[in-house]
Assembly symmetry: C2
Homo-oligomer: 104 residues x 2
């Protein structure tokens, strides 16, 4: 199976989990409370996220706190930067066009 950030964020529940954990590390049970799905379903999502290295477990007694790996999020940002470059160029082109129109 594919295991990368893009696959990790493909599922809406997983995106919600990521956003939840981003604010504060949480245990599987605490996370599951925020969703309709069963604890086991959430647990499977957590497993995928760990395998994709988007989150990391931190054992604390018999509880496990999952925390977001922000660095992994930056990989999306990095991939996106190639397009950001393009849309900034387009914006500049539009800007130049407007200037040209004003000056004519």
């Amino acid at each position: 199976m594919r295991r990368d950030i893009f696959q990790a964020i493909a599922d809406p529940t997983r995106r919600a989990i990521i956003a939840l954990i981003a604010v504060q590390s949480m245990t599987p049970n605490a996370i599951a409370e925020h969703f309709q799905a069963t604890r086991q379903a959430v647990s499977k999502h957590l497993k995928v996220l760990v395998e994709c290295e988007v989150i990391a477990p931190r054992q604390q007694g018999r509880e496990i706190y999952y925390q977001l790996e922000l660095e992994k999020m930056k990989e999306i940002d990095k991939w996106l930067s190639q397009f950001r470059k393009i849309w900034e160029d387009r914006f500049n082109q539009l800007d130049n066009l407007l200037s040209t129109l004003q000056n004519s």
Copy 2:
């Protein structure tokens, strides 16, 4: 089936197609030449991308040029911004810590 940008970019071939088209609009055949997969496989990916509104077809005679919808890419950027905020905060905290250490 789920049809959003996150699902669109989940597949590596689709990400490659997006990157390819970003530079210049292309026909399905031209796109397929860049991959090992058959034309039909690429065509299915294009269909998914169109349904996700990541690309749009532009008919030209009997050829169809697919072009990237940059606006849709921005949605990823928008979702990502919540985390960008966090990692900038963390960076500032680190920055403050370093300043404190230097001034003590």
